[in-house]
């Protein structure tokens, strides 16, 4: 199994600011994903973080709002830019298990509250 560490675990932010969430994996993984889980909702895929190239964003999510970096096979960042209260959510990093059958491992999430 993969151990995934996310930082920060939670934060309270002011409207209009940006916050970068870090995701560190204890082993090299090919596929990394960023999800959002709004209160009372399920997980929504934001983007696939591709190593060495631009992230692949899902419909409704754009790079200017959620820039993603993936400098190597164990690390990724997600920035939530120009935040508004609607961005208050849990942001989760996940990785595809190497050698698995398609299951994901998740970090514990980063809970952001935007005032």
């Amino acid at each position: 199994s993969a151990v995934i560490s996310q930082k920060p675990s939670r934060d309270i932010c002011q409207r209009g600011t940006s916050l970068t969430i870090q995701c560190q994996v204890d082993s090299q993984v090919t596929m990394m994903f960023w999800y959002r889980q709004q209160p009372g909702q399920s997980l929504t895929l934001i983007a696939t973080a591709n190593q060495g190239s631009e992230a692949t964003y899902e419909s409704g999510f754009v790079i200017d709002k959620f820039p993603i970096s993936r400098p190597n096979l164990t690390f990724s960042t997600l920035t939530v830019s120009n935040m508004s209260p609607e961005d208050s959510s849990i942001y989760l990093c996940s990785v595809l298990r190497t050698g698995g059958v398609g299951e994901l491992f998740f970090g514990e999430g980063s809970r952001l509250t935007v005032l």
Binding site: Y35, E58, L104, F106, G107
Partner: protein
């Protein structure tokens, strides 16, 4: 677009009974379907994966069925325990990414 529905937001059962959760999907024919458990304040944890050519998969007290004709998966927890109380999510693959249902929150009372 792909739609995943889990039959109810909450399910309350007595300890020892069998919990049955339903996941229905539309507009897609996934090669497999997955179930996850999520506890409050934690990330989801993978439980089981069932492929389109499998009718049933078991793991300890868990059983998953997959009916591709009905486009439905059933998730059973037998001899349920209070420790099984959590939110259970179904997920299926859409264009190499996993898409999740909203989940069913199971409460098992002693």
């Amino acid at each position: 677009s792909q739609k995943i529905e889990q039959n109810s937001e909450a399910l309350n059962i007595q300890e020892g009974k069998t919990a049955t959760l339903t996941c229905n999907y539309t507009n897609y024919s996934p090669a497999y379907l997955q179930w996850y458990r999520q506890d409050p304040g934690r990330g989801p944890v993978f439980l089981l994966l069932i492929r389109e050519n499998e009718k049933e998969k078991r793991k300890e007290r868990l059983k998953v069925t997959f009916d591709t004709t009905l486009k439905q998966s059933l998730f059973h927890i037998t001899a349920s325990q209070p420790a099984d109380s959590a939110t259970y999510l179904c997920a299926l693959e859409v264009r190499t990414a996993l898409i999740f249902g909203k989940g069913t929150t199971l409460s098992v009372s002693s």
